[in-house]
Each structure stands twice: as C-alpha cells, then as structure tokens.
C-alpha cells in the first residue's frame, strides 16, 4: 500500500512537473532562432536514422568523382543547395542560420561520417519537419548521387572552386543588374586611383 502511494505521488509530481515545463515553454513562445534542445536533437537524429532502410543506407554510388561529375555537381549545388547551405557547405547563410534546426556544416563529421546511401537518401527524400525538402523525381535520381560526391569533396574546396560557383547562385534580375552596375563602378576606377 505504501509503495502504491509513493508511486502515485511520483507520477503526480512528474505530471505536474511536465505540465509546468510545458506551460512555461508555451508562455515563453517558440522561435526558429533557438537551437533544438538536446532531447529534440536526439529524438530527431534517432528518427532520421531509423527512417532510412538498411538497403538504402548501404547503397553504392553509381558515379565516380571524376572532374566532370564534380564540376556538374558543384554548379548544381550552387544553384539548388547553397541558398541554405552556402557554397562551401558551412550553413552560415541568412536562411540556413534561421531554420529550425539550423543548416548543419556539411564539412563536419556529423555529415561526413554518414554513408553515401544515407546522404543520398536525405537529399532524395528530404527530412520531415525541417527545412530540407526532397529533391528530384521519385525513382532513380542521378543528380542526387552526383551531389553526394560533391558533399564528400566539400572539406577540400579551393577558393577558385568557390569563385566558380558564384555565377550559379540564384539571384533576381534586379540583383544581377545592381551587381553589374557595382562591378562597372569598381572597374571604372582602374586607372583613376
């Protein structure tokens, strides 16, 4: 009987504690500027790992990292991925840093230690409840496999490669026009200094 009462008290205290925590969290408000708590990160990472079937996790990349394939993937990454991940994959972009969770630094071990199949699966299927969409058409997706090779290459990116990516970054017509005006202004000063 005493054990049962103690158990009831512990359960009631736990429920009251959880309710108080929940109330305080809701009162404080939710902002995408925050970092996910350790519990959220653990649950999300575990769910992501479990959501990738073993056959997909161990899938082999059908492409080799030739200069042609890497060049194609680099332009593709600059056009489709860099808005959130940055050309060098560090995730330090206006959008990437304000997503919840924030865009990860793709050069770090958390990404680089994933298998090729896992990285492919994430690109091709996206990650639910994050800013990562599913890319490409359902079924075979060569472009995503080529992106896997480029992501593997990110830790060795050179400044020249970074520069080559810039023309492929998405920009509005107005931004391009303004950029051209500014470039002209700088170039006009070549002999005037």
């Amino acid at each position: 009987m005493r054990k049962r009462t103690l158990l009831l008290w512990i359960t009631a205290a736990s429920v009251a504690g959880a309710a108080a925590f929940g109330w305080m969290t809701i009162r404080r408000g939710f902002s995408a500027r925050d970092n996910p708590s350790a519990i959220e990160a653990y649950v999300a990472e575990t769910a992501r790992k479990l959501s990738i079937p073993a056959s997909e996790r161990n899938a082999k990349n059908p492409f080799a990292p030739t200069p042609e394939v890497l060049s194609e993937a680099r332009a593709h990454f600059a056009d489709h991925c860099a808005t959130c991940h940055g050309n060098d994959g560090n995730g330090k972009t206006d959008i990437g840093q304000n997503l919840y969770p924030k865009s990860p630094d793709l050069r770090r071990s958390e990404t680089q230690n994933l298998t090729d199949g896992e990285i492919y699966y994430i690109i091709h299927n996206g990650i639910r409840l994050t800013g990562m969409p599913a890319w490409g058409r359902p079924g075979k997706d060569d472009d995503s496999w080529k992106l896997v090779l480029f992501i593997r290459h990110l830790p060795q990116m050179t400044p020249q490669e970074m520069k080559e990516m810039e023309p492929f970054n998405p920009k509005s017509a107005a931004e391009r026009s303004e950029e051209e005006d500014e470039q002209r202004f700088l170039n006009e000063g070549k002999d005037q200094k």
């Binding site: 489709h80 206006d94 490409g136 998405p170 920009k171 509005s172 931004e175 500014e182 700088l186």
Partner: protein, 105 residues
C-alpha cells in the same frame, strides 16, 4: 519536374525576401579614411559616409576573399551595409577590378 520548378521558385523568392528584410544599403564611392573599425567613403552625391566594420564583415578584392588591410585610401569601394541604431554596419566590402566571368548568367 513541376515540383522541382515550384521548389526552386520558392527558394528564389525566399532569397529575395530575406535580403529585402535586411534593408541593406549599398554605399558606392572612394575611400577617404580608414580606421580600425570604420571606413569613410566619399559618395557620388559628395556626402562622406562612414560605415563601421564588424568581426563578421566580409572583404572581397577583385572577387577573392581579402581583409581590411588590403583596402587603401583612394580605392573605389562598394559596401553593403545595414543600419543598426544610428550607425551603418558593413556586411560586405568589395573593391578592386573584377573580370567578368564568361559563364555569368
């Protein structure tokens, strides 16, 4: 394919919205003074404008990564800055001649 185009369009719109949200000002002119934490620019309108630098300020000389030390008085400069309080804070400082890349779209 339609989904891909829609997603891309959403991303492009989001980029436009994000940069517009920052209300960046573009300061173009000749550098007249440099201190450890500011750059004064003589603009075309002849008004000298002082822009303050931050640890996060990016510098680009002729399209390549550079530092504030590479900037000299007399250089033509393009500064993308944001108003914080009553100060203009530089996000990016570009200077030097830039060759047009053939693949520029």
């Amino acid at each position: 394919m339609k989904r891909m185009i829609l997603l891309l369009a959403m991303v492009v719109l989001a980029v436009g919205a994000a940069s517009a949200h920052g209300k960046e000002q573009h300061v173009l002119g000749k550098v007249t003074a440099i201190t450890a934490s500011s750059i004064t620019v003589q603009t075309k309108a002849k008004d000298p404008v002082t822009v303050y630098t931050m640890a996060e300020t990016k510098y680009k000389k002729s399209g390549a990564a550079a530092s504030m030390k590479d900037l000299e008085v007399g250089d033509r400069v393009v500064i993308h800055a944001e108003k914080m309080g009553d100060k203009l804070m530089a996000n990016e400082v570009r200077f030097g001649v830039v060759a047009k890349t053939p693949q520029q779209r």
